[in-house]
């Protein structure tokens, strides 16, 4: 069987009046690949997804889904997709069962198959017992699970997942991650957009980082991390931790930046061994005990921050505008 890319995007440009939302982007996603699409707000993620799902048209350039041009052969291209949008866009006034059946009808799933698939998916997502309840009584996590179930009702070869686990309870989070892992195991291509960079790091074969309408980088997470080896860090915890220590630690020699997260401090440096010595000396001077200390390579978040021009401030990430 001939190999076909799941998604091929070529020289895509999208302009809204004078604003260029996408500036000549090109990338491809292989069949069976889990592909992360990361970027700060307003970077062009949503515009790209709207073009790839045929809702919006590009100003120029092309996009194909399993060889079907999304502009000229929209319906065939969409038939192979499942779309799980960031908002849990389910019908509150319908039951879970009616939502599923409606979604199946939109995707032309036959009567027997849609009932079988609906039963199967509602069971997998832990909603079968509530199938005849109207959705307006569901929790956020249950709505999210139903949204994902609706996106899978046509057994898609390509799944667009927009912020799948954002703000969810642990149970929903685990169910969704398990289902996605299972889908990937079955060869489904996943196009994931998320603000949770660690999620992308764990789940994705490759990630693209988009910024201001341009693809800033595209590669496997580990290879991307290697490009910024200069951003290393040490993470440690004292027996007594306080926010006041952060400023002093930030002023230690060779420390580029410092963060406090929970009971741990994280110091960014190009020379981890020398900073470890400085931290030990600081602990001795202040009568502190070091409970744990670890050296860390650059994270995908570090790569993201470096490539998008964001900066850390007080442990949070802020955009530079």
């Amino acid at each position: 069987m001939e190999y076909m890319e799941a998604i091929e995007v070529s020289h895509l440009i999208k302009k809204f009046g004078p604003l260029t939302a996408l500036n000549d982007i090109t990338f491809s996603v292989g069949e069976g690949e889990t592909f992360g699409f990361l970027g700060p707000n307003g970077a062009g993620k949503t515009t790209t997804i709207r073009i790839l799902t045929g809702i919006s048209s590009p100003t120029s350039g092309t996009a194909t889904i399993f060889g079907h041009d999304i502009e000229r052969d929209t319906i065939a291209a969409r038939q192979s997709m499942g779309i799980v949008s960031e908002n849990s866009n389910v019908y509150d006034d319908l039951t879970a069962w009616q939502n599923m059946i409606f979604s199946a009808q939109l995707y032309h799933v036959g009567r027997k198959e849609r009932e079988k698939k609906t039963n199967e998916l509602l069971t997998i997502f832990g909603l079968h017992e509530r199938r005849n309840d109207k959705v307006h009584g569901f929790s956020k996590g249950m709505k999210r699970r139903l949204t994902l179930a609706m996106g899978l009702v046509n057994s898609p070869r390509l799944l667009f997942l927009d912020e799948p686990t954002s703000g969810l309870d642990v149970q929903s989070n685990l169910i969704i991650r398990d289902v996605v892992t299972d889908l990937v195991g079955k060869g489904v291509t996943v196009f994931l957009t998320t603000h949770n960079i660690e999620e992308a790091n764990v789940m994705c074969d490759r990630v693209a980082i988009i910024n201001k309408g341009n693809i800033a980088a595209i590669d496997a997470p580990e290879r991307l991390k290697k490009t910024i080896q200069s951003v290393q860090s040490i993470e440690f915890s004292f027996n007594h931790n306080s926010a006041d220590q952060l400023d002093e630690l930030r002023r230690l020699p060779l420390v580029n930046d410092a963060q406090k997260a929970g009971d741990k401090f994280k110091l960014y440096t190009q020379e981890p061994s020398e900073v470890i010595d400085a931290v030990m000396a600081y602990a001795r001077t202040h009568n502190l005990k070091v409970i744990s200390i670890t050296t860390l390579g650059p994270s995908l978040e570090d790569v993201f921050i470096r490539l998008t021009g964001l900066k850390r401030a007080g442990g949070a990430v802020h955009a530079i505008d």
């Binding site: 319906i75 908002n87 006034d93 409606f102 032309h108």
Partner: protein, 255 residues
């Protein structure tokens, strides 16, 4: 092979119609009993009618054709201007826009729910005429055709106005009412077109309600301004124009 193409075309058409029907059924389940639809689709035409009928010396039974016409206008065009902005707000409209169906089927499916709602509601004045005032229907097939075409025409008009990219129901309703309200005065519902000034008569030609009302009048009285055949052709042209315009606007506003 042409036969294969024909088969493929029939299958595609069947899929599109089935998806359009699913959209219509979804709207029926969710929106038919929403308070603003009941007010706009049932109470509004009823009170408008009572306001104008009161004081007229005509026997009540003779006012039934006009009541049917404005009920069709208001009820058919009331579903989508409510449902679509709400669905934009809760993002379920994106689900429809990204489904593997054509925009034509989406517009058709949306209009279908307004059409069916309106047909049911218009049966109320029809029954009122028969039961309360013994209003005779002289040509039932013409009445049925008139109700179907008028209802579908205004349901498509409602879908067309709902293309305006807002999440606010009031905004669409305000725009729609600037068209719906004048229509009832220029279309021969309350004032016969023949008694209107020349300019009014000319403007009446551009109102789809003129032709729907004309057919309904013909069905009840056997008298009409135009022939029912002409009314049918003009209403079909209006439906086509509204459908194409809606299709273009949904495409344009979703960019």
């Amino acid at each position: 092979m042409p036969s294969i193409d024909l088969e493929g075309g029939a299958k595609r058409l069947s899929r599109e119609l089935s998806a359009a029907w699913a959209i219509a059924r979804k709207d029926m389940r969710i929106y038919y009993f929403k308070p603003n639809i009941i007010v706009s689709g049932i109470l509004f035409p009823l009170f408008m009618f009572l306001a104008f009928a009161t004081g007229k010396n005509a026997p009540p039974g003779t006012l039934i054709p006009g009541l049917i016409a404005i009920t069709l206008l208001f009820s058919a065009s009331s579903i989508e201007p409510v449902s679509i902005p709400i669905e934009r707000r809760v993002k379920t409209f994106e689900r429809l826009l990204s489904a593997p169906i054509s925009l034509h089927s989406l517009v058709f499916g949306e209009s279908l729910s307004g059409f069916l709602y309106s047909l049911v509601i218009a049966c109320l004045p029809l029954a009122l005429g028969v039961v309360m005032f013994s209003t005779a229907i002289q040509n039932a097939p013409v009445l049925v055709t008139a109700m179907i075409l008028t209802s579908f025409c205004f349901a498509t008009l409602g879908t067309l106005f709902a293309a305006y990219p807002t999440e606010n129901v009031g905004e669409v309703m305000s725009m729609l009412n600037t068209v719906r309200l004048p229509l009832i005065f220029i279309s021969g519902v309350f004032i016969p077109i023949s008694s209107m000034p020349l300019i009014g008569q000319k403007i009446a030609l551009f109102s789809p309600l003129t032709y729907g009302n004309d057919m309904i009048e013909f069905a009840y009285t056997g008298k009409s301004l135009f022939s029912p055949l002409l009314d049918i052709v003009v209403l079909m042209i209006f439906i086509l124009i509204f459908q194409i315009a809606a299709n273009r606007l949904y495409k344009k506003f979703n960019e």
